[in-house]
Symmetry: C2
Subunit: 212 residues, 2 copies
């Protein structure tokens, strides 16, 4: 097995601390007791300084020995195959974990992120709001019927879905008690709390260097 290295920025502004997506990979490694290192690229110049490793200029990307992967969703599915703590090993459990991981990426986040982006652009009551409400209502129905998305247990699909839903703007969309309880439950896991604290700690430490 190769050595795992998670790459993120060397600094990030206050508003995004605790939400940069290296957190997803840290969290998965913590859940699965996988040893990992964290390395950084400069935040300044991030749009062009690492295009050879991440063609959209984003973080995270992951090294696993000789392997390189970008896209946090791909990194999660890659890590999930290393540990039953992230994904069951039976075919039905794997299929469910895969489908809900992709649902988080392509049915929920595909609406929540653009909706949130339009709000940041100043379009508070934007035209994605109806679609957003529909998708979150459909998810609320699911989450009111079960504790976990796949295979009756915590999987990497819950890690990702909770990470998509815990964005404050999305969470404050509101009125969905099962979804809120789910997000609270998943983000109360010690592995999430450690991953979040570690990310925030890294960026806070970088503040000191910046002001030196």
């Amino acid at each position: 097995m190769g050595e795992l290295t998670i790459w993120t920025y060397d600094w990030a502004p206050d508003g995004v601390r605790g939400f940069v997506r290296d957190l997803r990979l840290r969290w998965a490694c913590e859940e699965a007791d996988l040893a990992y290192a964290v390395r950084t690229i400069p935040f300044d110049g991030r749009e062009t300084n690492h295009l050879a490793r991440q063609p959209f200029g984003q973080v995270p990307f992951l090294n696993d020995g000789e392997l390189e992967l970008f896209e946090s969703g791909a990194g999660l599915l890659h890590l999930a195959r290393k540990s039953e703590k992230l994904m069951p090993t039976d075919p039905a459990g794997q299929a469910q974990t895969l489908q809900w991981t992709v649902a988080a990426l392509n049915s929920i986040e595909m609406v929540t992120v653009p909706w949130w982006y339009l709000r940041i652009c100043g379009d508070e009551d934007n035209q994605l709001t109806g679609w957003m409400g529909q998708r979150l209502n459909q998810l609320e129905t699911i989450l009111s019927q079960r504790e976990w998305l796949a295979a009756d247990r915590f999987t990497v699909a819950d890690l990702l879905m909770a990470d998509v839903l815990r964005v404050p703007e999305v969470r404050s969309f509101g009125g969905r008690p099962a979804t809120e309880a789910y997000v609270a439950r998943v983000t109360d896991r010690p592995s999430f709390r450690k991953a979040r604290a570690d990310q925030i700690g890294l960026f806070e430490k970088a503040d000191e260097k910046r002001t030196e």
Copy 2:
């Protein structure tokens, strides 16, 4: 190995024929020479008539023997593990295929679909246009340097990325010759043409029943 069944609607209006996402799974099965059946659910009442099998009221979903999967992206990654024609079997080739499949879902389609949705809503020059252009430019850089996204060969990642990019509105965003050549090249594959013709044929046949 289980029997593969791809589920789609029993009819769809002219404007979306050739673009309903069961095509992705048909195409993958054709590429991999996997036998499959196509079954349908009623288009009328589609928002609520199959929520037990697809909680967002969409198609396709896939049966593989006893397994059930929704999300076309998940179906593609599931099928890819059945055939080297869709994904290499070496770890580096698998990692690259996985990352580019997720990139199609979460870095490209996450922008193209909401952008297109806003246009349909009448907002032609919408606020996602800048983001869309940035992502498509980044992809153009990649596609001007290589023929295929992953592992120097056609994979399921190309199938999905080309399917995301071939939407007429996205394609007409224009001015990106490497991307245009890529979409033309991938969609010229016999397996794509068969899958597309079969989907359109199914819906055309349903026209006859509707008017009887």
